[in-house]
Symmetry: C2
Subunit: 112 residues, 2 copies
Amino acid sequence: MEKIPELCHVDDALSILSGKWKPIILLHLLHKGTLRFNTLKRSVPGITQKMLTVQLRELEDEDIIRRVVFPEIPPKVEYSMTDYGRSLEPVLEAMHQWGTRHSLRKQEKKDC
Amino acid sequence: MEKIPELCHVDDALSILSGKWKPIILLHLLHKGTLRFNTLKRSVPGITQKMLTVQLRELEDEDIIRRVVFPEIPPKVEYSMTDYGRSLEPVLEAMHQWGTRHSLRKQEKKDC
DNA sequence: CAGCATCCAACCAGATACTG
DNA sequence: CAGTATCTGGTTGGATGCTG
């Protein structure tokens, strides 16, 4: 780990993953491969069209996901992880594992 | 990794680490052990007293850091990681490594 | 189907002033 | 020294309506 926190890059990773829906969107794409807009929307209960669009655009801008438009009627747009995006998997994995232990721990405390 | 993103715990980890100053505060405490309030403040350029207080309280509430008050004049308060807080180190490490590669990549793109 | 535009509420964070 | 209180501006997220 970097010895000088002034040069901290944790924030760089955080800025990619921050956004209310990004982790769950990424997990879906990692697990299920390629998904259409509405399929993704149904997979993320509670998200609005606008927010899904916004979050997808931000991830696309960072080259984390790929957006493929099929020039058809009705329109069809598919989203998938880029190879670069897949490099986030260990990070998400680490966060997921820690988060799981953390929520268990909180649960135990509540039970007391 | 959890197969059902509906039960995603990445957000749990994210909620702990989110907050403009938390990663750098945690890195300082991980590297330097125990720090007083003002020492920490000097270590995080740009942070205000209020924000430092708020972020420290939130981390303390989650049992990530320990706050020890010495009943002296002038007041002295020391902050350090809890054992539980240290369990976040692999997560921060993963994020740091990814973030470092990410910022290098962005740099390369800019150079083109 | 997959968006975009607009408007609005809530939250987050900063500046500043005051205190035991 | 290590805070708290208050005010304020900026950003984020949500509701709704419209479009190729």
